[in-house]
Amino acid sequence: MLEKLKLRNFRCFEALDAEFASTNVIRGPNAQGKTSLLEAICVLLRLQSPRVSSLAAAIRHEQKGFVLDGLFDARHMQFYLGAARRKLALDSVEQKSASEYLKIGRAVYFSNRDVEIVRGPADLRRKFLDFAAFQVDSAYRSQLRSYEKALRSRNLLLKEPRPNRRQIAAFDGPLVAAGDYITAARTRLIAALQPFAEEAHKDITRSAETLSLAHRRGGGADFRRTLEAATGEDLRLRQTTAGPHRDDLHLLLNGRSPEIASEGQQRTIALALRLAVCALLAEHAGRPPLLLIDDVFGELDFERRNALLKRLPAGSQKFITATDIAWMAPGEARLFHLAAGRLAALTKPPG
């Protein structure tokens, strides 16, 4: 559980100090920093933002760097990011590599834009998969980095005025090695998510509709072969046309593409996917992940709200943001009000 959090120069927060409970509800008008606060928690635990790929964007305007500092399960986690340098510390010991640090906390981020995972472009589904994979497979991060590096190198060589085939081929080895790893890891992940997603989906809809997940491999059945066969095409298009960077997660509702499903059905699928990750991480780590639920309840109708609340893994720490909390039953949640970058703990929900 995240007991304490300190932010310095993170997005709209100049300085923030907070203590959290098991369930935390953060209310506040628009543009006051609700998403930024959840993002900060995610970055503290996972060193990654759920909304941007470059963390530098989260440094408060005109500042040199941000500091995130938290007490999570009695471990003191600190992360500094500046323009030129980043620093990690665990219990005040500076960490050269992130591997120990990343073993500590796991998180799932629910956003009101999650429906885009269902109907948006494939890269959103790859991001969804990758974010889960980072948390169950400690080698995934470095393999994905190697893959991306080999891919960018190869693409640069393909874009040269006179591409050097021997040099391009030299990058095929590392590209295929990392690519095969990524492909296999994603296939495993999707297979592991399948039963959880199906169950969560049935539970929310209380219907007989079946949600199924499939891995569409951008590198084909045999990536090395596909890559070799695509050499001509790659040279013509001046980019690598096959590989896990073209992977997709195929979603099927009763065997049909959810593209034609209704808005509500699409939202339910997105929810089921997030819940599946929760269940998988809970199973993997032996305890539920921390949940960051950003402005999701407002979008849902009464039934889906309750289904979601009921399905959230028991015993997980929750951070729930909302502009309006009138619908919420007063429970053990700790209430906060966020305005102008200041977080105030409220003893009870204001009338």
Partner: protein, 216 residues
């Protein structure tokens, strides 16, 4: 009645004499030395009796004589380095490294008695480094004239190291020489420089074949 205007003061700020300022300026250019360290070192050189600035200046002057060995690229005081001048070493074995600084860690294992060839880097399109920027032609010449029996690739285990190894393997395909790679015991992304002796010894003894010699 208005407030009396205070005339602006033009006081010249006293600074270090020119020689000290110049010294600080030179020290600041060194890696890992910021303005404050530069100032501290400069003052120590000027003030401390143990500093022996002349000896330091002389040592720096001497070091300007160091050039890359014309054969292998290691640090040398003459045309050839100490390793290349040593007759007791086996020219049948040629170990290829990325940087001249990778040679000493391998030497310290005491396991290798052949010769070296430093490429001066590795193929890295992201850094705009291609084969033409590396000492690859010099390597091919050596392979022809020295005819080693085995070439050992001791390159980094990361993407660029792998790619450079693959590139060289293809170039050397037609040469009558066996090609091996040191075992993958090296942390990916970290060059040989950061590997410890034990890891290196293991990597050297557990090298794997990339190709058998081709004769004819």
């Amino acid at each position: 009645m208005g407030e009396r205007q205070i005339p602006a003061l033009h006081v010249k700020r006293v600074e270090y004499p020119g020689a000290i300022k110049a010294l600080i300026g030179q020290l600041k250019r060194m890696p890992g030395i910021g303005p404050r360290s530069a100032e501290r070192i400069a003052l120590w050189l000027v003030l401390s009796r143990d500093a022996k600035p002349r000896e330091i200046a002389e040592a720096i002057g001497e070091s300007a004589r160091i050039t890359p060995c014309s054969k292998c690229g290691f640090f040398a005081e003459e045309a050839l380095c100490e390793i290349c001048r040593d007759d007791s070493r086996s020219p049948e074995l040629l170990c290829i490294v990325e940087q001249p600084t990778d040679i000493l860690p391998l030497e310290r294992t005491g396991m290798f008695r052949g010769l070296y060839h430093s490429l001066g880097g590795r193929i890295s399109p992201l850094d705009h480094i291609g084969p033409e920027n590396l000492r690859i032609d010099a390597l091919l010449n050596r392979v022809k004239t020295e005819a080693p029996e085995e070439i050992i690739l001791a390159l980094g285990g990361d993407v660029e190291g792998e790619a450079t190894a693959n590139y060289l393997a293809e170039l050397l395909e037609q040469h009558p020489v066996a090609l091996t790679r040191i075992a993958q015991g090296l942390p990916a992304g970290a060059g040989l420089e950061s590997a410890d002796e034990l890891t290196l010894s293991r990597a050297l003894s557990g090298r794997t074949k990339m190709k058998m010699p081709k004769f004819g």
